[in-house]
């Protein structure tokens, strides 16, 4: 290990996250590779190592001969300070080599509040922030992840944006680069060719013009770049890469367990949910394959916990046989199985009993999202009060005594009546417990949490205004006044980060200046309360002559050119608009298994047919 690094590590918190060396970390011979890929996760090691996408792409890239993928995470403040004062540039964990010498620097961006960390990492690597100031072929800075469905705020800093699932397109991009490197292409020539690969968006090949009112006038592609870039997907999940053999951190991380991915996409179509749209169409893995992969992953890692992952696990058609198949192996070996993301409408007591056999009963969590049936219909969250109360009744009869309920405030069409519906629903859960609990002496804990709705791109609510922070807090106060039951605890999420998230998630390219200004004034780790300061951002917006409310709190017109109009997830914009109108009519849209409503994502599948 580098002696300078050893000296630094002696004085920072949790040094284990800065050294690599974990079981299954991939170390290749520098002389045997011609392409080095630094996979950067712009958050801490503990968060980044909990990300399944990182583990998949790390495995996929390292399976390529001649290519070495390594990991980079954002150093915490004490480490960053020590690195800067000792002059130690950002390095990759596997080799310890400086990131600036890599061929690719790839960022995984799942949330907008990580943007400042991207700038911070580029700076720590010793690279110019703006793509235009990095004229050479090496390094190429690429970004992917869910936040990239509106990549515009970060666009001037990256060379390429990879849209959708990266298993195939990353390999194609790397192969093109190796050819370019071998043949000595210029960066411009490489980017022109990269823009021809489906799923790769090259921001520098698009000119954006604005109206005087700040809305986008036109987005014009240049040099043969496509007018619309459509995301990539893995069409057959049974054939896709699963990281059964994956890094096992030697220090504790947030998700320290086997993550078994049941399916991608979601049949439900909740209108507020970006994931429900951008991961379309739904594609599952076969039950037998999952059992095999789950067992392999446990055996290779030594993990004693497994989580079944998906956007809505109770919608997996073979959930019971899958759990049976896994439990048959897990139970005698004392491996525990966790099943989050269950819906309140098809909660199965039998299943819960099975999963928790012998263990302590953990709390139950449901997300009705809205307090009234009218609003739940408007957002297409097809959960009825009867469903929820019936599930609670089953749980209370089975001895559970703790329920968490998650809601959003500020959803489109929301009235004060809907807000008070949350208190009403919580009370009904309480009375359900009073009536059906098998052990009332233990009491009941009902926790109600609200967050501030953030309208996201590529959803039917992408045109909506977010509630102002004042309006959200007014609703919080209203709700608090109506939650007087001692068994009910009410927590509300602070609206400041939601406001910033709303401004960034539907932003245009002009926000790059705001990002850079905020970063220069100290913004980083914005998703961490230790670091987040809204004032830094308000100052940055003001310094750039922009108004965050223009992005967060303004309703867009049907004909407005949206800043992300060159990006497609396969779902037609006309479909989103129709869904928006259906929301305002308070009508629901059936899920994909009941009836195909023609969103357009089927075109991404082979033969143009979804296999739901």
């Amino acid at each position: 290990m580098d002696h300078k690094l050893e000296k630094i590590l002696a004085r920072v918190q949790k040094p284990g996250r800065y050294v690599g060396g974990e079981y299954n970390a991939v170390v290749k011979d520098r002389a045997a590779v011609d392409c080095r890929f630094a996979f950067c996760f712009p958050d801490t090691y503990e968060i980044g190592m909990s990300n399944l996408g990182l583990r998949i792409l790390y495995g996929v890239i390292n399976e390529m001969d001649g290519v070495w993928c390594e990991r980079v995470f954002a150093p915490w403040g004490d480490m960053e300070e020590a690195m800067r004062s000792e002059g130690l540039p950002l390095y990759a964990l596997e080799s310890g080599d400086p990131v600036k010498d890599f061929d690719f620097i790839g960022f995984s961006l799942g949330y907008e509040l990580a943007y400042t960390n991207v700038l911070n990492l580029l700076d720590l690597a010793g690279l110019p922030l703006r793509a235009a100031d990095r004229p050479d072929l090496t390094p190429i800075v690429v970004a992917g992840g869910t936040a990239m469905y509106d990549p515009e705020p970060i666009a001037p800093f990256v060379d390429i944006v990879s849209l959708g699932e990266g298993e195939d397109v990353t390999v194609e991009m790397i192969q093109l680069y190796r050819k370019a490197k071998k043949e000595g292409w210029s960066k411009a020539a490489f980017l022109r060719q990269a823009a021809q690969i489906p799923g790769l968006y090259v921001p520098s090949l698009y000119d954006v013009k604005y109206h005087d009112d700040g809305t986008v006038a036109a987005v014009t592609p240049r040099e043969g770049a496509p007018a619309v870039v459509t995301k990539r997907i893995v069409t057959d999940m049974n054939q896709s890469y699963y990281p059964a053999k994956t890094i096992v951190p030697s220090t504790e991380v947030t998700q320290d367990r086997v993550m078994l991915e049941l399916f991608r996409g979601c049949i439900r179509g909740c209108r507020f949910c970006q994931a429900g749209y951008v991961y379309r169409p739904v594609r599952g893995r076969d039950c037998d394959l999952l059992v095999k992969q789950g067992i392999e992953a446990c055996q290779d890692s030594g993990y004693q916990d497994m989580t079944l992952m998906s956007l809505s696990s109770s919608d997996y058609p073979d959930l019971l046989p899958l759990c049976d198949g896994l439990l048959e192996w897990c139970q005698p070996r004392k491996v525990s199985l966790a099943l989050p993301s269950l819906r309140a409408d098809n909660f199965s007591m039998g299943l819960m009993e099975k999963l928790q056999a012998g263990g302590r009963k953990s709390g139950l969590t449901f997300a009705p999202e809205a307090g009234s049936q009218r609003l739940r219909d408007a957002i297409n969250k097809n959960v009825t009060e009867e469903d929820l109360l019936a599930s609670c009744r089953t749980a209370f009869e089975g001895g559970w005594s703790s329920v968490k309920l998650y809601f959003m405030l500020g959803l489109p069409t929301e009235t004060d009546e809907d807000v008070l519906g949350i208190a009403d629903l919580a009370n009904k859960v309480y009375y359900t417990w009073k009536t059906y609990s098998t052990n009332r002496s233990r009491g009941i804990r009902i926790t109600v949490s609200t967050s501030c709705f953030v309208p996201k791109s590529h959803t039917p609510f992408q045109w909506e205004a977010q509630n102002t922070m004042e309006e959200y807090l007014r609703k919080v106060t209203l709700l608090r006044e109506h939650m007087r039951n001692k068994s009910i605890t009410y927590n509300w999420h602070d609206p400041e980060t939601s406001f910033l998230e709303a401004a960034l998630s539907r932003g245009d390219r002009r926000l790059a200046d705001v990002l850079e200004t905020a970063w220069r004034n100290g913004a980083k780790f914005d998703s961490w309360s230790e670091y987040f300061r809204l004032q830094t951002w308000l100052d940055a917006f003001a310094a750039c002559g922009l108004d965050p409310a223009f992005y967060a709190n303004r309703e867009r017109g049907k004909d407005e050119v949206l800043p992300w109009s060159m990006i497609s997830d396969g779902v037609k914009t006309s479909y989103l608009w129709k869904e928006r109108e259906t929301a305002y009519e308070g009508k629901i849209t059936p899920d994909c298994r009941v009836k195909c409503t023609g969103c357009g994502a089927n075109k991404l599948c082979e033969g143009g047919v979804c296999r739901v």
Binding site: M1, H3, E6, K7, L9, A10, P15, G16, Y18, V19, G20, G21, E22, Y23, A25, V248, S250, T251, E252, Q299, D300, S301, G302, Y303, Q304, K334
Partner: protein, 223 residues
């Protein structure tokens, strides 16, 4: 049937695995290696792994011991190789054996300590260190979870069994010390902090502590 022990080395990147994380790492390594080990009895059974003398974070060691109970999937002869394929970089199992001396017999630890100075102060520091060790008593403040003030006083001198080597070389000072292991033991960091505050003119920029050997009450190798 008696329990088993492994003797292992912890160096390189593994220095930064804390005691608690090391226990988890070992439990997982046993599972990865296909070795089943004894679980504790009781309401929440868990795999039994026990380390008699936890190694402070950042220290390296050639002589760590972990006790466990081998149930099946290996033998004491094949276990080291099996485990070494399942362990992270920097942890290496050197030996596996039945039984072993009682934990309370672990009495002394031989540490190799390196101090690095900003300038060529090692020679001066060597003299200072010897002088300090020659005192009758040297009381330092030590952080304590039990004491109300958060600190407790400890006399270092009786806890240093022997100063086996003091060698200076430019900016480096090398010490080999035999320290009491437990009841009470002495963490060399406490000694070094006391030394540094006693001689504030010495500008130490880095220290490294390495456990070379552990000994029983007769100063024979402890296993």
């Amino acid at each position: 049937m008696s329990d088993q022990r492994i003797l292992f080395r912890k160096t390189g990147t593994a220095k930064y695995i804390s005691h608690l994380d090391l226990m988890h790492t070992m439990e997982r390594a046993f599972l990865r290696a296909g070795i089943s080990i004894r679980h504790t009895q009781g309401y929440h059974p868990h795999p039994y792994v026990s380390i008699p003398l936890p190694l402070p974070l950042g220290f390296s060691s050639d002589c760590e011991i972990l006790e466990f109970g081998l149930v099946e999937g290996s033998t004491i002869e094949t276990l080291p190789a099996q485990m070494n394929r399942a362990l992270p970089s920097g942890i290496e199992v050197l030996d596996c054996y039945d039984g072993g001396l009682a934990f309370k017999k672990l009495t002394f630890v031989r540490y190799d300590i390196t101090l690095e100075f900003e300038t060529e102060q090692a020679e001066e520091a060597a003299a200072d260190f010897k002088a300090l060790m020659g005192r009758e008593s040297f009381v330092v403040q030590k952080r304590s979870k039990k004491a109300k003030s958060g600190f407790t006083e400890v006399d270092i001198i009786p806890l240093v069994e022997a100063v086996e080597e003091v060698r200076s070389d430019g900016v480096f000072l090398y010490l080999t010390l035999l320290l009491k292991a437990q009841n009470p033991g002495l963490n060399p960091d406490v000694l070094l902090q006391g030394f540094r505050s006693e001689y504030p003119g010495l500008n130490v920029i880095y220290t490294a502590c390495h456990r070379r050997e552990i000994l029983d009450d007769n100063k024979a190798i402890y296993r």
